[in-house]
């Protein structure tokens, strides 16, 4: 039995939900950051599966762009995390509640 499109979409939805739950549950900034990466990957899986089933390469190009944006987001996000850690000596998001680095 071949894997259907709905299988991939269900897996993507599960991964995205786990990522959302992680962002809500975790308090460590780096852990939240990794959960955001997880959500981006879930969306990428949706793009690639649609591209494969509709025989269209556009979805894979979107994945390419999303990966670039994720790399940029990783660089800037980790810079922000380092700046927060220098000022607060903590990675707990509850400690960074004043809108000021």
């Amino acid at each position: 039995m071949e894997p259907q499109l709905s299988w991939y979409l269900a897996l993507s939805a599960i991964l995205f939900t786990i990522g959302v739950a992680g962002v809500i549950i975790r308090r460590n900034v780096i852990a939240m950051f990794m959960c955001i990466e997880l959500m981006l990957n879930a969306v990428n899986l949706t793009f690639v599966s649609f591209a494969s089933f509709f025989q269209d390469v556009t979805g894979q190009l979107f994945v390419f762009i999303v990966m670039t944006v994720a790399a940029a987001e990783a660089a800037v996000g980790l810079g922000i995390i380092i700046a927060i850690f220098r000022n607060r000596e903590s990675l707990d998001v509850d400690d960074a509640n004043i809108l000021k680095l």
């Binding site: 979409l9 990794m34 390419f64 762009i65």
Partner: protein, 221 residues
């Protein structure tokens, strides 16, 4: 056979994703996340997208996760302390919303399998050549915009992570600085006095100010 492979990699991905959320140590979360990326790359190969699979391993599991692990080790984060928050009154609302969401997703998943797909199995869909030709013709503008985005990310990350240069109250000459505000050099001047002194070298600035630099001019920071 393909279904068995799908179940294997999907189970691996979901298990590693659950470990990302459940682990208390961020380093273990990062390694579990690498597991998710690798199993997703295997799924991309099954979906006839070998280029995306390779980029997934190189960029995500390689570059981005190395960056994250670097930061985790640089900051030397401990286990996060488990504090309990009061979410009891939100639990019924969350259950209702989750039921609605599951119903929607189930409807979509049932209806998507009834759709008809193009049956022509042209083999060059996920190849590097087809992606490259599309990327440099139809989608050239997003490609260029992405390069600008990466440049902005480089500049922004360096600006954010750089430690601001601290001036001691007695500092008169900053080694390496060519343009000094007058009130930095002479604190008795008013702050709104924007007269600046422009010199090319530290020794020139020291000579202009009539002082000898306390630091070795050849040793710049």
């Amino acid at each position: 056979m393909l279904a068995l492979l799908f179940i294997l990699f999907a189970a691996l991905a979901v298990g590693c994703a659950l470990a990302v959320v459940a682990q208390r140590n961020p380093l273990y979360s990062a390694i579990s996340l690498i597991g998710v990326f690798i199993s997703l790359a295997c799924l991309y190969v099954m979906l006839a997208a070998p280029f995306i699979a390779a980029v997934q391993v190189i960029v995500y599991a390689g570059a981005i996760m190395v960056l994250v692990v670097f930061v985790i080790m640089l900051l030397n984060v401990e286990h996060e302390d488990s504090r309990r928050t009061r979410v009891g009154f939100l639990l019924p609302a969350a259950l209702v919303l989750a039921a609605v969401l599951i119903a929607e997703v189930a409807f979509i998943l049932v209806s998507v399998d009834k759709a008809s797909f193009p049956s022509s199995s042209s083999s060059d869909i996920g190849s590097t050549a087809s992606i490259g030709s599309q990327l440099f013709t139809t989608y050239l503008l997003p490609f260029e915009i992405t390069s600008i985005l990466l440049l902005m990310a480089i500049v922004g990350a360096m600006t954010l992570a750089r430690r601001a240069r601290e001036l001691s109250p007695n500092a008169r000459v900053i080694p390496g600085a060519q343009l000094l505000a007058a009130n930095i050099i002479d604190p008795s001047k008013a702050l709104d006095d924007t007269t600046a002194i422009e010199t090319d070298t530290v020794a020139e600035a020291a000579h202009l100010l009539g002082i000898t630099s306390p630091r070795d001019p050849s040793k710049r920071d």
